[in-house]
């Protein structure tokens, strides 16, 4: 049962949101909304990105605490290093190979139920995060709005991690562990497909 003053207090932030539609810049794809949508879609439209991001979440869930939340924190932080390199146009060799390898390696770690120390897991994830970040950063200068582009692709990356974590929580059941490891195998195969040019 809500206390007397609570409904008004709870309504204030929602009331402010009702005023927000005027802030929308929809319809043409330009401006704030255009930048956000292109940034949000960037990781989602690349199967190599999607599989690797999901694999990070899967592996984190598989490793359990504290990896389950440290890996999704490490990844975006290190991704910015790669992203900054991409934005600045500094050379980073074999970006697409690195992205494909990330799916292979992370998928393999999940499939083989690899349980390295937290430091090693974070290092592996961090190394691959640089390649993913570089690819996103390379696209940024052409975006309609750089800030909302960055917001979009960081949020999309985080949601992909979350989906991997959600699926990875199935490991608490024996059948779930098999399913998660099988998913890791599929991710590894997809990564191989990109690595050898089949996909």
């Amino acid at each position: 049962m809500m206390r007397p003053g609570r409904p008004m207090r709870s309504a204030v932030p929602w009331a402010l949101l009702l005023l927000a539609p005027a802030a929308a810049d929809a319809h043409t794809g330009a401006g704030v909304i255009g930048g956000f949508s292109s940034g949000f879609l960037h990781p989602l439209t690349g199967l190599d990105h999607v599989t690797a991001m999901v694999a990070v979440g899967l592996w984190g869930a598989f490793l359990g605490e504290p990896a389950i939340w440290i890996l999704p924190i490490v990844f975006p932080l290190v991704m910015t290093v790669g992203g900054a390199l991409g934005v600045l146009g500094l050379p980073l060799p074999a970006v697409e190979t690195g992205i494909a390898l990330s799916a292979v390696a992370l998928g393999l770690c999940v499939a083989c139920a690899a349980r390295p120390s937290l430091g090693i897991a974070a290092t592996v994830v961090g190394i691959f995060a640089i390649f993913h970040g570089y690819a996103h950063g390379r696209e940024m200068p052409g975006a309609a709005n750089a800030v909302t582009y960055a917001i979009g692709f960081v949020i999309a990356t985080g949601l992909l991690h979350l989906s991997g974590i959600a699926f990875g929580l199935l490991t608490r059941w024996p059948a779930g562990r098999i399913a998660v490891r099988a998913a890791g195998g599929v991710i590894c195969c997809i990564g191989m497909g990109f690595l050898f040019g089949v996909l």
Binding site: A23, L88, I151
Partner: protein, 171 residues
């Protein structure tokens, strides 16, 4: 109402301001509003002063790197779940208010319209900051606290990337 309404919406239309205000509210909420008094005492008057200074036209446009570095610092504090002494917290609140306020200059309006617009911005910034912080402080479950730290890392990621872009554009 038009000028005030426009000012009310201003922070919602400025992604960098949202990042800074969100970073502040996450940090404030993470530590159970322990620095709420400092926040009120520093953020409110500094924001008012900075908004007022924009009327003078003395200060040029706030360099985007300043906004981005502020957001980055706040994101790091949130990701690390780092609490700081009240004086240092006050410094962060003051810097953030100064950055957001000075970057909210109004153009193309009468003096009265500008005042209304800046007042709207002042109100909106407070609502965003303190209401969000209040809700965030209610997140006591472990996964909620982890989510806050993840959000902090996202703020750092966004700010550093945009900072790299602004360095490239200015270089």
């Amino acid at each position: 109402m038009g000028d005030f309404y426009s000012g009310l919406l201003h922070p919602l239309r400025a992604p960098m301001h949202i990042l800074i205000l969100l970073g502040l509210s996450l940090w404030l909420g993470q530590h159970a509003l322990s620095h709420l008094k400092t926040a009120f005492m520093v953020f409110s008057p500094v924001l008012a002063a900075a908004l007022g200074l924009t009327l003078s036209g003395i200060f040029p446009e706030v360099p985007q790197p300043f906004l981005l570095l502020t957001a980055t610092a706040l994101g790091i504090l949130v990701a690390a779940e780092k609490n700081l002494p009240a004086a240092v917290c006050g410094l962060f609140f003051g810097l953030s208010a100064f950055a957001v306020g000075l970057d909210s200059a109004v153009e193309g309006r009468t003096f009265g319209g500008s005042i209304q617009s800046l007042l709207g911005t002042w109100v909106s910034a407070h609502v965003i900051l303190f209401d969000a912080a209040w809700y965030i402080s209610r997140g006591e479950r472990p996964w909620m606290k982890i989510g806050m730290r993840v959000a902090g890392s996202w703020i750092v990621a966004i700010a550093v990337l945009v900072l790299a872009l602004s360095v490239k554009k200015s270089g």
